[in-house]
């Protein structure tokens, strides 16, 4: 396949940035999308151009490092698929593909297609954990956890923190990310003591980072490679409201 790529190039944070067109030829349908970009970069390197910078690491859909807005869709056209697991067979010979970085004020562009997602880490720092210092734990089977609660916790814990939800959200909200963590920890008995303060603190940090609010449109769930459901945002809302109204919440 021969493909035309229009890629966002931006030298650094202060650069204006612009879309630049490139052609890549002899692309195999079995290539992954990122391998297609590898081909482009090999080409650029040999002609002495600066290769396109993009984030990627595990290339098996779990680390959450890869990003990319492909034709206006976070992680491209396949549902439940991160960019690294997207293959070129989903495109056709002669296609023109637009590739851009995640865009949100909380995700400043570092270079080309790479953005700074450390805001998500700071939200976790604000309370996305259960305080259990090493060595303090009781035997693992001391507390039994109903299977439905364990499953629900897992569904939230499956979030890979890629930031696609923010990229796709018309409001630039990270509510799906936040809701997933709140649901993960809040569904477990171990997570109850800090449940209120966790929801309050993480939400405060989410807003302080400059993410927008959730209008329940659901674009985030359509692009989420981990299949986090929309109801986890409602869980977040529930826990924040109840956290704020608990006596002694402050």
């Amino acid at each position: 396949m021969n493909i035309t790529l229009r890629i966002w190039r931006q030298q650094n944070h202060d650069d204006q940035g612009r879309m630049v067109s490139y052609g890549v030829d002899d692309i195999s349908p079995d290539m992954s999308f990122l391998e297609m970009l590898d081909v482009l970069n090999e080409q650029l390197t040999l002609t002495g151009d600066d290769p396109v910078a993009f984030d990627h690491d595990c290339r098996e859909g779990i680390c959450g490092m890869c990003s990319l807005m492909i034709n206006g869709l976070a992680h491209g056209p396949e549902a439940l698929t991160a960019t690294c697991q997207l293959h070129m067979r989903h495109f056709a010979d002669g296609d023109v593909i637009d590739i851009e970085p995640w865009r949100s004020n909380a995700f400043p562009v570092i270079k080309d297609l790479i953005v700074d997602r450390s805001a998500l880490d700071r939200i976790v720092q604000a309370g996305g954990y259960i305080s259990a210092p090493t060595g303090s734990a009781p035997d693992a089977n001391t507390t039994s956890v109903a299977r439905k609660d364990a499953d629900r916790a897992f569904d939230g814990a499956a979030c890979i923190s890629c930031g696609a939800c923010v990229a796709a959200c018309p409001n630039g909200s990270a509510s799906l990310f936040l809701g997933a963590k709140i649901t993960h920890l809040g569904s477990l008995p171990q997570g109850q003591p800090e449940r209120d303060s966790r929801a309050v603190s993480m939400t405060a940090q989410h807003d302080a980072e400059g993410f927008g609010g959730c209008t329940q449109i659901g674009e985030c769930t359509a692009v989420c490679p981990a299949g986090i459901p929309l109801d986890m945002i409602s869980q977040l809302n529930h826990d924040v409201l109840s956290g704020l109204t608990q006596p002694g919440g402050q």
Binding site: R103, F211, A222, D231, L236, H238
Partner: protein, 239 residues
């Protein structure tokens, strides 16, 4: 950028988008309830002028003598005013935040023109803000027309019944009313469901389906109920 103190976090969370959405949800749901009552009143048009005007004056005497004349109505009006004020205030703050979060461009912040409509959003869900403004403008016009009697297409009257008949006998008045109702329908369709979701009621896939069904039901009942009187008047079934 990191919020450090517990009190700071509590305060920040109180001003968070989650809380503003809850405020907007409560305000919206109160207005939706009011709309049901309002619709019920409108349908009294089919019981004739005496019943309709009687209902209108009855609303002013509820709670008497405990409350002064029009007391209950004024309480209702204050509640509604607060609701609408809170609803609009929250909406504008959230709108502003969403613009700030996306470089002022919302869903159009990417260079590509493809998939700007996204993957799964409904028409209703992404017209909430402009739809809300259309509804607001209509409400002002509507109050001036049928409540305050300032604008009087078809002729002013002391009788609410006559004001309604006079107005809705004119095709373009009905048309403007219908357009506003369509905007309201979309607003309710997404608003009712998302209000419950914002308040934490969407707890599972099944719940989401139920809440969406509820939103459809509320929308159909309210819009249907509001459409019947003006259409009937225009058609000459009520005179």
């Amino acid at each position: 950028m990191t919020v450090k103190t517990t009190a700071g976090r509590y305060g920040r969370a109180l001003r968070s988008s989650v809380v503003l959405h809850a405020v907007m949800a409560v305000g919206g749901l109160i207005m939706a309830l009011y709309l049901v009552a309002h619709m019920y009143g409108n349908l009294k048009i089919f019981s004739g002028q005496a019943a309709f005007d009687g209902y209108s004056s009855y609303l002013r005497t509820i709670g008497e003598p405990l409350l002064p004349y029009s007391g209950a109505l004024w309480i209702l009006r204050v509640v509604l005013l607060v609701s609408v004020g809170a609803h609009i205030y929250a909406a504008f703050v959230l709108w502003h935040r969403a613009r700030a979060a996306t470089g002022g461009k919302g869903g159009w912040r990417y260079q590509t023109t493809r998939n700007r409509r996204g993957v799964q959003r409904s028409y209703a869900s992404f017209t909430m803000r402009w739809g809300g403004i259309v509804i607001l403008l209509f409400v002002i016009y509507h109050l001036l027309h049928l409540t305050a009697n300032v604008i009087a297409p078809g002729g002013a009257s002391e009788s609410p019944y006559e004001r309604m008949i006079n107005g809705f006998s004119i095709w373009w008045v009905v048309l403007s009313y219908v357009i506003a109702l369509i905007a309201l329908g979309f607003h309710l369709r997404h608003g009712v469901w998302s209000a419950f979701a914002s308040l934490g009621a969407n707890t599972s896939v099944v719940r989401r389906r139920r809440l969406n069904q509820l939103a459809y039901a509320v929308t159909i009942v309210i819009i249907g109920g509001f459409l019947i009187p003006p259409v009937s008047i225009l058609m000459g079934w009520v005179r």
